[in-house]
Amino acid sequence: MIDKQKLIKAKKRAKNDALLYLLLLPVLAWYILFCYLPIAGGISLSLRNFRFDMGIWNSPFVGLTHFKSMMSDGDFIRAAKNTLIISMGRIFFQMPCAILVAIFLNEIRAEKLRKRFQTIITFPHFISWVVLAGILSNVFGSGGIVNQLLALLGMEAISPITQSDSFRVFIWLSNIWKEVGWDSIIYLAAITSIDPGLYEAAEADGAGRLQRIWHITLPGIKGTVAIMLILAIGQVMTNGSFDQIFNLYSSPVYKVGDTLDTYIFRESFINGGINYGYSAAIGMFKSLIGVVLITISNKIVTALGENGLY
C-alpha cells in the first residue's frame, strides 16, 4: 500500500520534472547554440589556420602556433597593454567614485532630493555609446561648448578625444560620467542594509560624521566591494569597453586606445589583415586570463576572510 503511494508520487514527480525540463529546453538550446558552440569553435579555430573553404572545424591544424606568434606581435602586445591600463584605471578611479557617490548620496537627509539626484546621475547608463559618442564629440569638438568656454576664458583649445596624451583619461572620465550612478546602486543597497543601531551607538559615543563613515559604513560594505572587485579583476581583459572605445577612437589614438577587442575587430573585419585562427587565439587568451584572474582574486579575497564569489 505504502509502496503504491510512493510509486504514484514518483510518477507525479517525474511528470512534473519532465514538464520543467521541457520548459528549460529552449534556454539550454540557446546556451548551446550561442555560447557553447562558439566556445568549442573558438578552441578549434585557435589551433588552426583558418581557410574559408574548410571552415572552423576542418582547417589545417597548427597547434599552439598562434599563441606563440602573439608573443612577438607588437600590435597585440600594445593592445593587451592598453586593455590592462584602461581596465586598471577603471578599477582605481571608477570604483572609488561609485563608492563615494553611494556614501554621500546616503548622507542626504531629504529623501526626495536623494532619489532625484540618483535618478539624474544614473540616466546616461541607459543611453548607448553610439549616442553618447555623438554627444561627447560635439561637446568637446573644435566648435563645441567646452572650447567655446575655454576661448571665453582666454585659454587654449583642447581636443581630448583625438589626442593620444589625453585619450585614456577621457575614456576613464567619460565612463565615470556614464556609469557612476548605476555602479553606486549596489553599494547604496549595501549601505542601506547596515543596522541603523550601529550609527546611533556611534553617535552616542561621540563619533563624528567622517568617523561613522570610516568605522561603520566602509566596514559594512566591505563584502560587496570584495565581490565587485573580484568581478572587475576577472574582466580586466574584456571589461566591456568595446562599445565606448570603438565609438570614440580614431587612428591618431590607436597607440594608447587600441584594446584587444577593437584590435581583433579591426583586423578581422575591416582590414582583414589577420587569419581568423589568430583572432580566435587572442579571444581564447582573453577568456583564459579572465578565468585565471577571477580564480586567484577569489582565493585572495576568501583568504582575507571575506565571502568570495563561490
Binding site: 512534473n16 520534472d17 514538464l19 520543467l20 520548459l23 528549460l24 529552449p26 534556454v27 546556451y31 547554440l33 550561442f34 557553447y36 562558439p38 566556445i39 569553435g41 573558438g42 579555430l45 571552415g55 554621500f104 548622507e107 537627509r109 531629504a110 532630493l113 532619489k115 539626484f117 535618478t119 539624474i120 546621475i121 540616466f123 541607459f126 543611453i127 548607448s128 553610439v130 549616442v131 555623438g134 560635439n138 561637446v139 561648448i145 567655446q148 550612478g181 546602486i185 549596489i186 543597497a189 560624521r209 565581490i227 576577472g234 562599445d243 565609438n247 581583433i264 578581422s268 573585419f269 581568423y276 583572432s279 580566435a280 587572442i282 579571444g283 577568456s287 579572465g290 578565468v291 577571477i294
Partner: protein
C-alpha cells in the same frame, strides 16, 4: 551649534550633487538646443543656455529621409520582438531554475554561470552565427542576445523567494508547472517582470553591435547604425540633402542634422526612464550573483 554645522554639511553635499547633476545633464541639453538651431544662429552666437532660434529644419531633414524611416522601423521591430523573445526565455528559464528539487539544477546553473566568465570570442561567434544562416537577417539582432545571463540569474533569485505555499496549493489542486507559472508566478510578479521587460527593451533599442557584425544590408540597419553613419558622415545622401537645403532659403548645417538624430534616437529611452528608475532605485537589480 551642532544643528547649524549639520545643516552646512547637508548644504555642501547637496551642492556637490547639484553640480554633478548639471554635469550629467548639460551635454544632453546642449545637444537639444543645438538640434533646434540653424547655420546662422550657430555662426553668430555661442549657444550655452537658450536657443537663439527654434528651427526644426534638422528634424525635417531627418524625417524626410527614407533611410531614417526604415531604420526606425527596424529598431521598433527588434525592440518589440526581441524583448518578447528575451522575456519568454528569461522567465521560463528563471522559473525552472528556481525549483530547488529539480534534478540536474546545479549542473545547469554552473553551465549558465560559466558563460559569464568564458566566451568563444568575436570571430568564432561570428562564424557560428554565419553557420546558423543568420547573416543579413533581422534575427541576427535578436537571437545572439536572446538571454542576458545576469538578468536571468537575478530573475531566478527573485522566483526563489516567492512564497512556496501558494504554488504548492495549486499543485495539490492538480495544476502543472506551466499552469502555475502562467497563473500564479507571473501574475504575482508583474511589477518585477515589467521592470526586466523595460531593461531588455532599452538594450534592444540600443542595439548596434550585432548589427555592426552581422548586418551589411541597408534595409536592416537599425537606428543606432543609421545614427553612427550620420555622425561619421557616411550617409552621403543625407548630407547632400542637407546641402541642398543649405543653398535654399532654409539654412541647416550637418551638425544640426546630427544633433536632431541624436535627440530622436534618445527620446524613447527618456520616455520609459521614469518607469525604469522607479524600480532600480528600490534596489531590485541587486539580486546578486550568489544564491
Amino acid at each position: 551649534m551642532k544643528k547649524k554645522s549639520l545643516d552646512m554639511y547637508q548644504i555642501c553635499i547637496i551642492l556637490i550633487f547639484g553640480i554633478l547633476a548639471v554635469l550629467t545633464l548639460y551635454p544632453f541639453y546642449n545637444v537639444l538646443i543645438l538640434s533646434v538651431s540653424n547655420t546662422v544662429s550657430v555662426a553668430n552666437h555661442s549657444i550655452y543656455l537658450f536657443p537663439y532660434t527654434v528651427d526644426f529644419t534638422g528634424y525635417q531633414t531627418i524625417l524626410q529621409d527614407h533611410k531614417f524611416l526604415s531604420a526606425f522601423q527596424v529598431s521598433l521591430f527588434v525592440t518589440i520582438i526581441g524583448t518578447a523573445v528575451n522575456m519568454f526565455l528569461s522567465v521560463t528559464g528563471a522559473y525552472v531554475l528556481s525549483k530547488r528539487e529539480l534534478i540536474g539544477r546545479k549542473v545547469f546553473l554552473t553551465m549558465i554561470l560559466f558563460t559569464m566568465l568564458f566566451n568563444g570570442g568575436l570571430v568564432p561567434t561570428y562564424m557560428i552565427v554565419k553557420q546558423l544562416n543568420l547573416i543579413n537577417r533581422i534575427w541576427a539582432m535578436i537571437l545572439p542576445t536572446a538571454i542576458n545571463t545576469y538578468y536571468l540569474i537575478i530573475m531566478k533569485n527573485y522566483f526563489l523567494q516567492l512564497p512556496a505555499g501558494l504554488m504548492e496549493a495549486a499543485k495539490l489542486d492538480g495544476a502543472n508547472e506551466a499552469q502555475i507559472l502562467v497563473k500564479i508566478a507571473i501574475p504575482i510578479s508583474k511589477p518585477f517582470i515589467a521592470t526586466f521587460a523595460l531593461f531588455y527593451s532599452v538594450e534592444r533599442w540600443n542595439e548596434w553591435y550585432n548589427a555592426l557584425l552581422y548586418i551589411n544590408v541597408e534595409k536592416f540597419a537599425p537606428l543606432q547604425i543609421y545614427l553612427r553613419d550620420i555622425l561619421i558622415g557616411l550617409n552621403s545622401q543625407l548630407s547632400a540633402q542637407a546641402q541642398q537645403m543649405l543653398h535654399s532659403s532654409q539654412k541647416v548645417s550637418t551638425t544640426v542634422v546630427q544633433m536632431a538624430t541624436i535627440v530622436i534616437t534618445a527620446v524613447p529611452i527618456i520616455c520609459v526612464y521614469p518607469f525604469l528608475q522607479r524600480y532600480f532605485v528600490n534596489g531590485i537589480m541587486v539580486g546578486g550573483l550568489k544564491e
